[in-house]
Symmetry: C2
Subunit: 203 residues, 2 copies
DNA sequence: ACGAAAAATTGCGTGCGCGCAAAATTCTGA
DNA sequence: TCAGAATTTTGCGCGCACGCAATTTTTCGT
């Protein structure tokens, strides 16, 4: 087990995330350059892009880091007699509960900054592959698992966009009555329960 | 109807698309810079980015331009007694038939160039909004329509990735038996037929 | 037909993303 | 312990994306 290397990589990755979030919260997200983050993390600017492919990525990653692994764990921990749709929905919804979303100011900043908002929604993509594995692990063939995982991901994105839309609009004083984020996510994914049921039925 | 303006915009947009595709096919996609495309279209480099947000976008747009409007038309042209799922699936699948995909060399270039491949898959996103309208137009509430449209889009992306993966792999001499693109798209979306059925049922 | 309003084009400046090759660091086997 | 292999970090350079403000083009009311 090669350890020193992986450990160091993980360390600088976390250092970059935390530096990025801290600086963004302190000076405003538009005011922090990649060079600032790199310097704060004690690393060269070029190295930043070995870890994150955009300026916003590190900031958002500070909040969304281990989402994928948490979801697979949540699904795996569920007894096998729980039907697949329920297990998946609960697992994904669980990731969008207040707990574990990092400091509350962070989410506000992300919701009110267009570039961060976009990046945040895109990170939902990171659940696709683990979700596929988890679904395939419950006996569905891989092809179907991929499509269902993609659908869940898409539904989560839609829910997220709605929520961010309203949260962002709240800045302008206009607040429309709408569900909480977990409720929105659940309702959206629930649309596919019939598809899960049909896919789980051996044909 | 303000016409001169819109007409001119449409003209330069098309000029940029065609110039981009032509140059990319001629010299290879990596060898053509934004400035080259702009010059070939008789427009300033800065203007290029008023029309397309990335270097690859114009090239891909030359092939995918009016996909959204074609899909809504295809759905609208279907008699109302055809069930929604069928109408949507046929409409989307119809867009991935050989016809209308532009010159065949173009698709090969896109399939074998990573940056273009990524961009091409992303353009599927452009069907989301029109698809939402079309579905909502058939009597489903907007919320559900959005989620279903997103799922269809996601399924199409998965199918596209599979197809591109194999097409790309064919370069390396490894060809795995797999369906044609339309068949892949159809099979993927078919997964959601139950969800469409359940959503169409008034509750 | 003309002048003001609206909108598109353009040049400029800045920061970003990344390929490449050299330098530094870490790992492996003897 | 140490030399060579493997991997990571870094500096450099290029082209891209885009905000901004000035300029040019198109539209519209009279």
């Amino acid at each position: 087990m090669t350890t020193l290397r992986e450990h160091k990589k993980q360390t600088t990755r976390v250092a970059l995330q935390e530096a990025a979030l801290r600086l963004a919260l302190a000076h405003g997200p538009e005011q922090v350059r990649v060079d600032d983050i790199a310097e704060a993390a004690g690393v060269s600017p070029r190295t930043y892009n070995n870890y994150f492919s955009s300026r916003e990525h590190a900031i958002v990653a500070a909040v969304t880091a281990q989402r994928g692994s948490r979801i697979v764990a949540a699904i795996a921990d569920r007894p096998d007699d729980v039907d697949l749709a329920t297990a998946v929905i609960d697992a994904v919804v669980g990731q969008y509960t207040d707990t574990g979303s990092g400091p509350p100011e962070a989410m506000l900043m992300i919701a009110t900054t267009p570039a961060l908002r976009t990046c945040y929604v895109e990170t939902v993509t990171s659940i696709e592959e683990p979700l596929t594995e988890a679904i395939a692990g419950r006996g569905l063939d891989r092809e179907t698992a991929e499509v269902l995982a993609a659908a869940v991901e898409a539904a989560a994105k839609v829910a997220l966009k709605r929520w961010l839309h309203f949260t962002g609009a709240a800045r302008g004083g206009l607040v429309i009555a709408t569900g909480s984020l977990p409720e929105l996510v659940r309702a959206a994914i629930e649309t596919f329960r019939p598809a899960f049921a049909a896919a789980a039925r051996p044909r």
